[in-house]
């Protein structure tokens, strides 16, 4: 596989190193001279100096081949957006992964059709919510392309679903239970699974069905 990695900071350099270790062909692009010179000691001819939003820089790195994947991993969201658009729409690169630095910019990536994206801040916040829940329904994962999301719900004593079998719950259209975690063990949820107080239930659902699911499981 041939990959172009844009941005030679901690994220980009580590990704490039990991890809090389897996035996892939990689070109790393870094704009800053000081960083480039340090990277050159390690990556030699596999790192090039330049602004990865400039077409001639991307062309020198072989964007016209085109590569199997382009990774836009700089610390600048606008740069990552432009690199991704140019790679996909001008050079027909099939796979682009973009880094989102400021989670508020996620909407711009979505608007311009750049997917998948990775945002460390959003990931950390999702984990914080998972570890220190402040809400009765925790968003674990958003599957943007599929337009689905996975949530976790804690069943308590007052929940109307406690003591009921899954097949007897009136789950909303577009929502399914995946698994039940009880006493430190997880089980796949099927129709015969009976929910109990203290269960941590994973559900997959279409965005917008949260309130209906919450009503059925928790009556809130």
């Amino acid at each position: 596989m041939y990959a172009i990695v844009c941005g030679g900071g901690k994220v980009g350099a580590n990704v490039a190193r990991s890809l090389l270790r897996l035996g892939h062909e990689v070109t790393l692009i870094e704009k800053r001279r000081d960083r480039f010179e340090r990277l050159e000691d390690e990556f030699e001819h596999q790192v090039q100096r330049g602004d990865a939003t400039e077409l001639h820089v991307l062309e020198r790195a072989g964007i016209a081949r085109p590569p199997d994947i382009v990774l836009a991993l700089t610390g600048d969201d606008e740069d990552n957006l432009v690199t991704s658009q140019v790679a996909k729409e001008k050079y027909g690169v099939q796979q682009v992964i973009a880094r989102v630095n400021d989670p508020r910019n996620q909407a711009h990536f979505d608007l311009l059709g750049i997917s998948p994206t990775v945002c460390a801040t959003s990931g950390i916040m999702a984990l914080v919510e998972h570890e220190v829940p402040e809400h009765d329904m925790i968003h674990l994962l958003e599957l943007r392309k599929e337009n689905l999301e996975i949530v976790e719900v804690q069943i308590d004593r007052d929940s109307p679903s406690a003591g009921k079998r899954v097949e007897n719950l009136e789950l909303p259209e577009g929502a399914r239970l995946i698994s039940v975690m009880r006493g430190g063990r997880a089980e796949i949820a099927d129709g015969a699974t009976q929910l109990e107080e203290g269960d941590q239930v994973l559900a997959i659902l279409e965005p917008g069905k949260e309130d209906e699911l919450r009503r059925v499981l928790l009556r809130r």
Binding site: T53, E54, L55, H56, D76, D77, E78, D79, L81, V82, V86, E89, K90, R104, N105, A107, H108, L111, L112
Partner: protein, 143 residues
């Protein structure tokens, strides 16, 4: 008519002042509050400090009612992102962005963004100027 100018450098401030003189309701956004001085002592329009890709700031600046948006920050990539957000998300009718790099300007104008590339304009003017020079015929000096 309402105009939003993102980036208040030499170009942005001049465009803002001229539009305002022509009767537009002008709001200017810049990340640096000192940029306000470029608009003179008695700027009658609105001036907001912040990042032009911040949707909350754009809303506060009235992007939802804007008839025109001009993106002239010092970053080409910032300008094309703001321009596309204005066009695709907020349906601003007239969106114009400055893109210094001619290659990126061509790419985004092919994709329906109105781009102005001062670099391209400068190259064309300079070429015209050189071509129109009257070069005196060299005089041979014979001994």
């Amino acid at each position: 008519m309402k105009a939003l100018i993102v980036g208040c450098g030499r170009v942005g401030s001049s465009v803002a002042l001229q539009l305002q003189r022509e009767g537009w309701d002008v709001t200017v956004v810049d990340e640096n509050e000192d940029a306000l001085t470029r608009l003179g002592e008695n700027w009658p329009g609105t001036f907001l400090v912040g990042q032009g890709i911040d949707v909350d700031l754009l809303r506060e600046a009235g992007i939802e009612e804007a008839d025109a948006l001009v993106a002239v920050t010092d970053g080409d990539n910032t300008n094309v992102v703001i321009g596309q957000v204005a066009q695709k998300r907020f349906d601003v009718g007239c969106v114009i962005v400055r893109v210094l790099d001619p290659a990126r300007a061509d790419f985004y104008s092919e994709r329906g963004l109105r781009t102005i590339s001062p670099t391209k304009t400068a190259i064309a003017s300079l070429m015209d100027a050189v071509r129109s020079c009257e070069i005196p015929t060299p005089v041979r000096i014979s001994r």
